[in-house]
Symmetry: D3
Subunit: 314 residues, 6 copies
């Protein structure tokens, strides 16, 4: 039995954001959050009780330390992080919108320590001992070296017997649809469980449903998230579907990562159904919190799934 | 004619809370509010113009003074408050949730000055001269001595000719359903007007409606609150029902106490119907304000009842 | 071709407001915004790219300078502003409500520099060179001299070949319905485009629709705003209607002024239809921002009209 | 023995201020405090235990109510306040400086309800029953009617046997030195105790010390405040001097009013020496608090005078 | 060689405080910090690189978790903490003063989980393996059981070969001088290094200097802190003295604990002199941070000791 | 006579900072300010009334627009700014210290649009028409291309008859002392007025005073700033010295740039003495404001120089 239940690999950033009604161009202060798709997944997984580690490269400065301390405080094992003098901590600026104005994201993540890291720099032995390995399409998009790092990690993990999960996570501000689709196709043979939004499935692969995406990429298990409508999964010819929760949204950013953490939690317990349920619960709960991180615990997920709660607990 | 229109008795606390999206485990600051079911009722009643006093015991320190000053600033007569060296001011911590995450309440009210107070310590003559006396089930739950204080006060008030109102206000984090039901049954003969949520009526007494609860407890007037659906009252074989208001909720805590204040205000004016209407209006208005206290005035209630307002008054 | 596309005339104020859930009577701090109907129109117009100037009188102090700097930072030409030692900067206090409690406005704008200004004090030559001139009913209401200033400006502008637009903008806290109706009737012959809420059209002129208002006042183009339902315009026997946008409202104050700016933007481009569309888009977008000012740009309007956006742009 | 120990008369305002390092021209929020020289004196006196009332005129709106509630919450009797529809609540804007940049004050108090009030409007019987009556030079400066109100009140109070105290309180932004000097000379025969800064004594009356000012005005007791150096008093040929306290200044505005309250507190207890000591202690303590009001109690003053305290009390 | 360099034992609390210029009686929000003398020492020691553990008992709720997570995030080993259903988390309220007003502390720590804990409940084997064990006089003061826990821990640690350090830390709001002196005398034979303020040495033992305190208690090494003047130590007939640093104080609470951590750090490296220097540097640096915790690292201490820094590092 | 009195060239950034007592590693929000040595100089000069333009390259995004709007709102002519798709806006993170902890600066300005800009990309004709041209040593340090841009600009300006001023502004976090000294030597023949701190003069050129630096570099006018001690200038064999002002420091960053603006303002009026006086006054005043920008006006400088002010202006 592997020591760790989950290892994720990817870049973490500081998110600098303004509250709904304010503007990046004028706000006198920016809220600061630690974020990054795979870091979010590791954090959420650790919060609900999985043994989770996060692999990345961070700059040796106050911002890099902030990232590592924040994740560690949530229970994430950060011992596999490489500390470098080169590069910077990626940032992203977020203007929280309100309908009909969309949330606006401005990336400032070029030249980050993680984007500069070469596959040879990591100690891949650290991945030899995990049940699940997770990466997202963002890591493929950051830089050529980052894509190489991601591929190498997937190979190492798979070679050690881990299941590889991947969130397609297409970001139009990082690359084009065709490049993204090609990169996903390229690593698909290494992926055991692929997660994507229905929107990305359609935009990148013209897939109108979970079976079509599965057919297009040949991945064993494919999960599509459907926004408020829930999620649908296909594995071994069977389709599983679960509905979403009604949410009073505080901050939707990071909800997809919380879903992935819940999905993996279910898979660790051997149940795709449980994965969908936990993922949807965690996604909904994340949206009730500021920031990208799932700052709740297993008990909060259980309470929601038990649906046996009053509006006020006192 | 009694000098005072209302005397309430109960514990007040500081409420330390975090805004939706934040967590008690991490927030760098807690919002501070004065709260306590019967104190809230007295405050709301004073704000709309009733002469209202609040009986309690407070510790002689900055926090106790804060409670007394806040209530007095709203017009509550605090001259009947006992100031003690013993005990502490009760606190409660609130994490405002957002659907599907419930509001979470952490009580830290044990060993409070009020919970320690003995019936013998109060000057019951102060209750001789009021039209209404109000207490909630929370005061029955705090401690044995508190329950004794509440019972004694109800007896004194009733003996002096006051009408006794009681809000069942069951709190699962203070005691069990059976203990609560027994305590309510025990004081029911002293109660003229009983208010409860439909949920508590069912959970504690298996009563599916206002008549059932009335039958179970033998109280002359019983009022059930139905959440957004409004409220229903039964008295002398007659049932009165009024619908609720659509609310953009800012903070629902304390809405029930505002309802009670409005109900008593109507009863002071001799009308149960008016009581329901004012109670529902005050409950709705309270939800548009931060904190437990009804920080509005009679004019605001009148304006809502007149339904003659624009969205912006300018 | 005139140098400027738009000149507006009116009073600007500081708005001192508290957030939903807070009260003017207690809040420890007031948010500060620059506001004023015609200043808002000029600001919004400048932000989307029109060459816009604002005519007014301001006191020579820190508050007056704040107004001018804020508008200028948005691109408004403030060179026509008169700086005076006499008078004060008008203020208005806003308590943002939440249903069913209305937004409450307390004006403190008497004796303002603008209300004291006489028509003779302005250099009307500054208005000779504009495509559109805009004023609102508020300026008619401020004082006799202000009404005279407004009338004179409309005459000057019209005499120079500008189109005159007017927003009826009835304010019950400034004057009565009859006085307002009379004043509007008085200047109607000078108005080319009149904007009003359906509510004001009915309350002041008993007009149940856009044609009725047009008939009552004899203005060439009349536009009625219908709240969430959109807007309707009548010109030359033709009626144009456009629906509104679903909005998560942050702050509705100033939305009407943003509508007017969008309408004029469309008219500058020769299209009443475009004016309605842009006006409704700008009105909706304004409601997603704190404060009265439309702090967005033409690109944001275009994006909404293209309806081709995700909920998160990243 | 009079029922009240102190009645003060004067205007109260809202103070809107920005913290050191911020600017009125740019700050996104203004701190809100209730202020006004004589209101400050009444508040401080009530906080340390004197029975104190405040006479003034307030507008019937949220801002007027805020003033009255704030003072009443400190224990000030506000039953003598006149509520008017006319006029507005005076405001003043404060930019807290830092050496070498001075604190900057922008008054916006013209047309206030108090400045408009006529002497005939007050019920002077309310002043018949007080040990001390206090007014400041600011009330003389507000308007002709206000000056008449102040004079009339001094006459009524003196006629009823009260001692009249006056704080010269020269404000260059309200009137010139000569007008102020003349007004002070005019009422000097009605004054029993006059307080002034050494700076004002010199600037208005060319008086280089307390005896000179006493000689110039013929007042029985004269007290000069000397900033950090303390204060000096002259009465009946005797001079009393006390040194000031070393202060880490948070907000110096209102310190002079706290001094006056302490002085009167000493005089109530029959000791000018005690008056200086309490005044200097209260002045120093006020400077450690935000806002104009002395939000501390008699115990805090006693602790400082006992000089028997650690830096941290725990 | 022991695995751990330091184990501390004591209670942790939440500190709820208001900034200079604000009052506990009125502030709308309280800043929240984790605090507690021995927890502070462990935190500071871990931040500068010592392997440090903290022994205590915490309630199983959000506040208890907050304490543990905060300390763990600083590197403290919290695996020895006992989690209990009984008791509450102690709180203390702090009003940051400004000269001449002292900082005011209101304890609300009675009935805490730690004060209720019995010596038998702890697994003392956890203390067998440490170089230093530290406790403060506060733990002796909390309750009889807490005093017993402290004594037992000192015995266990000493029995395992650890050096026992103790900070006298007298708190007048917890007990009287005589009781404190007796308790310290009682455990003195178990103490290797005693730290006290010069003030406490004089107040509790009439000791005018470090030798006198050493003589009175018979402890091998005694260290007196002298406020801004630095610190003095006596051991084996030798006296060592080091001066303090000039400090722009932000928050002095917790400075004594930072001193102790620095002292132990020096002792771990075998040098009392280094201990004084590091202790004084860490004490000074702590005072430049909000809250009780030394949220800095070894590099910051080294930089100060090297005295080779500009005012701005850029 | 040139149209402009001053053109400056350099990079602007967003400064993200935390207040004294807080840490970059933990703060939940960062204050946001626009900054950059030469942008600061242009802003300060424009605020006091000089016609000033700023030359730079900015990225076409919300952050770039924020920089340009902020400077323009202060009166800076930004029409010479180049807008680019390439590169990013430089950032710098500041942890405001408190003695003995230094202010800590973390640069994140690599790969900025300005650092990437090539000399060929600018329209140098824009510099043909200015009385003074200013640049700082920071621009020499950013990149090879930036150094080339600076040199080219100095040549163009000098060729057009402008006086060239330069602030040595050594930044140890950008380059080493030797490289900086060499770069300064290299451009010294183009410089008419050189400003440096006494510390930099010593560290880079071993110059113990203003004459030594002048001798080392052969610049006509050399000004050394001496911190609180003021400044000293040497020109044509004459030495001028002025003392500094006592300052309650809020934020010292940017004070040197305010000094330069004041110096140039004096030089524009033909007086080096006036330049020192204005520079020292502006430097002192800047330190009383948050952020790098001199957000005050000529009147504030005049008031300080007149030394005719009370501590409170009211």
């Amino acid at each position: 039995m592997p020591t760790r239940q989950l290892v994720t690999l990817g870049e973490a950033m500081l998110r600098l954001s303004v509250r709904p009604g304010d503007r990046l161009e004028e706000a006198l202060a920016f809220d600061v959050h630690v974020a990054g798709s795979e870091a979010n997944v590791a954090y959420a997984a650790a919060r609900v009780g999985l043994s989770a580690a996060w692999v990345s490269a961070l700059p040796e400065n106050a911002l890099g330390r902030r990232v590592a301390r924040t994740l560690a405080a949530g229970g994430v094992d950060t011992s596999l992080v490489r500390w470098e003098k080169a590069g910077r901590l990626g940032l992203y600026f977020v203007e929280m919108g309100a309908a009909p104005r969309p949330i606006d994201v401005l990336y400032d993540r070029a030249h980050s320590t993680m984007a500069l890291a070469a596959a040879g720099a990591f100690d891949w032995a650290g991945l030899a001992d995990t049940q699940f390995f997770h990466v997202s399409g963002i890591t493929l998009a950051l830089s050529d070296s980052s894509r190489e790092v991601a591929r190498r990690a997937m190979e190492e993990a798979k070679g050690s017997g881990a299941s590889v999960t991947m969130d397609m996570n297409y970001r139009q501000r990082l690359w084009g649809r065709e490049a993204a689709a090609e990169a996903v196709r390229d690593v698909a043979p290494l992926v055991d469980v692929l997660v994507a939004t229905a929107e990305d499935a359609r935009d990148l692969f013209g897939a109108d449903g979970v079976e079509q995406l599965q057919a297009a990429l040949g991945v064993e298990t494919v999960v599509l998230t459907l926004g408020a409508a829930g999620a649908i999964a296909s594995r071994g010819g069977t389709t599983v579907r679960r509905g979403g929760h009604a949410v009073e949204t505080i901050d939707r950013v990071g909800a997809g990562d919380a879903f992935v953490a819940g999905l993996i939690w279910g898979l660790v317990d051997g149940s795709l159904e449980l994965g969908l349920e936990r993922g949807l619960a965690m996604s909904a709960l994340k949206m009730t919190l500021h920031g990208d991180l799932f700052r709740l615990d297993a008990g909060d997920v259980a309470a929601l799934l038990a649906k046996d709660h009053r509006e006020v607990e006192r």
